[in-house]
Symmetry: none
DNA sequence: TATGAATGAGTGTTCATTCAT
DNA sequence: TATGAATGAACACTCATTCAT
């Protein structure tokens, strides 16, 4: 995890320093609190309590509550996108590549479900530069999915509205945070197979001619 | 729209009185504000400003900010469910009935997109009795969809996890609030056709034997 | 009960009119509410609720919350003082006259214990003219007691600080509202005998020479 | 003065720390404000003004207005009871022990008359646990007086209602806050002698036989 | 005679944040 | 590296009161 702009001058940090480790812990606690109470509903006092650090102490690690949310967004988005890249390197078949995207997303989603609710739910609270940066990350992630779907579409000579299809797929996946229950619902493997089935069968539309 | 428990004794109200009308206006303004800022992020002062009524004056119409959110939830959920019932009366074919559900939902969604974001986004902030009542409404709505899908499944002798399928469908539809853009995306008719296509094709899974 | 200055022009009132009766009822309800919550702690809404009259309606009968407290003070003080006058007319013996004062006070106190708590407890909240008028009433009542004690003192040729003695007597009597329990404590007759015993024995101090 | 439950963890406090000192100062200011305006009538803003600390700053020292009143009650009650214990250690004679109680009470009362008005006047506003704890303290204090009076009663073989007598004594003493004027009334020594005279002579009732 | 509707000022309390240490 | 102490601004909500009807 490598947050880019922190309150401390960059020159005094080195990767995986105690600073980074401590910050990562705080981010975890904060994620849990935002998960429970939402970003607006959570107070810095809540974060202080959950992390065991004093209110003032927290400000050594990030400069504002909003920046903290930014760091969370950035960390998880960077991570999920990076894993995706790694996994796609080993897959060539267009349909398998889409399935890989879905599996990667859901696998990460279920393993980090608190963070993923935060990312899904607190999508538009970041403002200005911070918001723009995260939005760019998301756009990029969206396009990496969109590209995979387009490739498949070409292979199948299908006809459908890619934008609607891809965003519907994101809807199926991101809405999970409202209903997924690990005790009764399938795990990442089976779930991504089922969602993949619905989506892939769903878009196999022979072009009309 | 008929809010159930208000500060005034029920006996002094009659349907569509000035009181009800004024409350309905306030609900509209409040919906717009919650849409913009979220429930937690919106202050009663924001509501006062947007509705043109004094802060104290608002409390004549509802007893708390939470009750206001409850009234919004209740109004829109009741309405969408009622329209569904009406529309389903005229449709017999199982597949058409599922398509009717989708169209009804998206039609209402797009016509009341601010409210629908509020309903989707502020799903779990209502507590205790208020929350339980709305949750019951939502469960009922979910089951009405689930029943339609089950009927179709029987007809097609398909095999799939109904729960996952139905909640994926809700995901496709409810996630709309994060991306739908009336200038570039299709209207309710076409959109519900496309979503319906993906979903219905997606679940047409012949039973293995 | 004849309050002196009300919001309605005097010319339109006549004694025991419906207006006076309604006001008297409101005063009773208000007394009960002030007894429970204190003057500052009670809201006009509480009074509205307890009297069954609308918030705005109350203002037809008195012009402010403070004036209402004034009316209560005035009514009860006038009444207890008037009864005292009547009772003293039939008693000549100095000691008996002091006992009559005590009995009159306690008899009234126990019969109107809610009001008496209000009078005792909300002693200094009335301001300016209103406060001055009630203070004058109380001073007069104090002096009527003080005079009786002075008369007795002369008869017995006792020596003691009259002010301290009389105010101690008032203390014994007015403090009652904090502890009197009708189920275990004696009634007005016996209680005033006991308090009278303590006080009268207590001040029978032969002058030193 | 050792408040029991504060917002800071007990482990980080040590007796007479700056925190305790500052809290004690605030308690003094608050006592003066409650004395002037009553508990309900005083606002947190009044306390802020009188103590020279910001409104929000006050909440660092106690968690609510009610808790503040509790701390005041507790401090003064604990102190007066403790002094009583010390003074009684040196007195054996039953009558002198009652006189010691009276002197101790009035001495403290006059030296802390603002606080004592608050304790007398805001007797029943504390609720639940807080109220119960203070009520227990008061009951204990009442019984320590009652025991002394009982002892005297046995010695004199007197007959009187102890409860009425003791509560009358408290009435004489606690009512002081409504009338005591240091410029014209006697000091603690003389005043407690006079009150003691009235009370002790008052209860010297030979048993009837 | 009484009230529904409304309000400005105020309530107790919490907010994210700062700064000396 | 971390915190105790403090703050101005804001929070949801209630206050006594008014006024057209």
């Amino acid at each position: 995890m490598a947050p880019t702009s922190l309150s401390r001058p960059a020159s005094t940090r080195h990767p995986d320093s105690r600073f980074e480790q401590r910050l990562a812990q705080i981010l975890q606690h904060a994620t849990a609190v935002f998960y429970e109470k939402g970003y607006e509903g959570a107070s810095m006092r809540d974060l202080s309590r959950s992390s065991g650090m004093s209110l003032a102490g927290l400000y050594y690690y990030f400069e504002s509550k909003e920046k903290l949310l930014y760091l969370i967004h950035k960390h998880y988005f960077t991570t999920v996108a990076q894993r995706l890249t790694e996994r796609l390197e080993e897959v060539q078949n267009p349909e398998e590549r889409v399935r890989t995207f879905i599996f990667n997303h859901l696998d990460f989603f279920l393993a980090n479900h608190k963070a993923m609710k935060v990312l899904s739910h607190e999508d538009d609270v970041l403002e200005r530069e911070l918001g723009a940066e995260i939005a760019a990350l998301k756009r990029q992630y969206y396009h990496s999915c969109s590209d995979l779907v387009e490739a498949l579409k070409r292979e199948h000579s299908s006809e459908f509205n890619t934008r609607v299809a891809v965003l519907s797929l994101f809807g199926m996946m991101n809405w999970l945070y409202t209903w997924y229950n690990p005790r009764i619902d399938p795990g990442a493997d089976e779930l991504s197979r089922q969602v993949g089935d619905i989506f892939l069968r769903g878009i196999r539309v022979p072009a009309a001619h």
